[in-house]
Amino acid sequence: MANFDLKDRAAIVGVGNSLFGRRLMRSPIDLACDAIVNALDDAGLTKRQLDGLIVSFGSPIGADADTLAQVLGLELRTYNQTWAHGRFTASCIQWAAMLVNAGLANAVACLAAVSFSGLRRPMMGGSGDREGAREAGGGHGEDPVYGMTSPGAGAALVARRYFERYGCGNRELAAVPIAFRKHASKNPAAIMRDVFDVDDYQRSRFVCEPLHLLDYCLINDGASCVIVTTSERARDCRKAPVYISGMQGLPAGRDEFIWAYPGLGVAQQRSFDYQAGLQPVYQMAGITPHDVDGLFTYDAFSILVWIALERWGFCKPGEAASFTQEGRIELGGELPMNTNGGLLSEGHIMGWNHQVEIVRQLRGECGERQIQQAEIIQWANAYGDSLIYHR
């Protein structure tokens, strides 16, 4: 038991997005300002009450934290940024929850902002991708010497391994992007809103086989922000707080590969039968996966949804292919997922757009795509970190 128990001690009190789009021709800083201003307004807080900032996917591709503080005339007591990788959403919110409870900040804005306008190959694979060429291999399994490049290729390697190990394929995987596009069709902010079927999916071109174009997230422009403060202060804000009741950090090591759970046997992972057990995030929150009303996950590639479902124990290894059929992960299904449309269809704001949607779901603000009686929603990822929120 931690001697610094954070269960229900921090809350999200404000959320805000910029416009999302593919050719907004506005910079990350420009878009980030919209998201921060909208989130503060949503919380009913003033600029002076914001004294902490954590930028996810920061410099050199996203919004730089120093510059943001300058441009917005903030007076920060503490700030930080993660380098330009997408997966640190939960980490940033966890750090913010710790900061406010440790008395190092009153309210912390956590955000990501990206702008890929006009760039055809925006540093995600290829010769401009310095991260993909880093010492001892890129963060997504890149090895440019053999043409292995881009985050999607690492996901394709996992998909092929999964298909071979469990005997399934694209026909089953199609259910994931189809479900999230249906959700996006009910979301006016989503970039891609036209629904498609399994035949459309199969006809979409391969990017890195076995993944089709429709297995890939969007590359776009936009920003999303959430404001974290203590639960005590949260009760004085404009809207009902959304509490953080469980947290689990981002794991790393030789049995981890960014897009796979331990045991799947990709990169240098040992190959064994993974067992989820009851993960620490549930123990902290005092719930089990059965209590979750909605699940959100980092769906940069559709296969990550299967990996996440199995990693967190919503189904056993090899079962996600059947679990995701027949509308089970759609609105009205047993476990609605990524009701905003996800990175696959709403937009790729590094998972921060998902945090905004989770808060809106728990406040009952989602209209046509509202999860009925949503009380507990989880953010849980293929790469092993999680947050559990409740209203």
């Binding site: 190959r121 694979g125 290829g126 010769s127 991708d129 060429a133 010492e135 001892a136 291999g137 399994g141 090895d143 440019p144 010497v145 053999y146 043409g147 292995m148 490049t149 881009s150 290729a153 394709a156 390697l157 996992v158 092929r160 391994r161 071979e164 071109r205 391969f206 990017v207 890195c208 086989e209 076995p210 030789r254 046997g265 990709v266 990169a267 240098q268």
Partner: protein, 142 residues
């Protein structure tokens, strides 16, 4: 004879991986083996990732393994690969344990299968660099 310009990315040689690339140049596949616990690992490290022993030996491996997973690129990200689309990248699990990314040669992409037995073949791409590619091990007919 003038060397034609090699267009694909070349490895970044570091203090850690230089013995690996030097060995390939000599037509040998070598990885580090811990003198204390016997682990063979990849990528190269300054100490054994398991027991942190500093003493290890760059041992020569069999060069044989099996296909663990693979992908086929239909989109080009590097100019040097433009003419080879669609090209494969395979993850080969060596008989000694570690997995290497590579390209499979002497096999059409649609014939690649998980578990396929493969062996190393060395490809000199510049005067300094030799790559480790893999090809199917031919099954002798009885």
């Amino acid at each position: 004879m003038a060397e034609t310009q090699y267009q694909k990315p070349l490895p970044a040689i570091s203090s850690l991986n230089k013995p690996f690339w030097d060995a390939l140049k000599n037509r040998e596949l070598r990885l580090q083996k811990c003198d204390k616990c016997g682990l063979i690992w990849y990528p190269p490290a300054p100490l054994c990732p398991d027991c942190w022993a500093r003493k290890f030996t760059w041992v020569q491996l069999s060069g044989r393994g099996r296909v663990n997973s693979w992908v086929v690129f239909h989109q080009s990200y590097f100019k040097g690969f433009d003419d080879e689309l669609p090209y494969n990248v395979a993850e080969v699990e060596l008989d000694e344990g570690p997995r290497l990314l590579t390209n499979l040669v002497d096999i059409p992409n649609d014939q690649i299968r998980a578990g396929l037995r493969v062996e190393i073949t060395f490809e000199d791409v510049t005067s300094d660099i030799t790559l480790a590619k893999f090809r199917p091990i031919e099954i002798r007919r009885s």
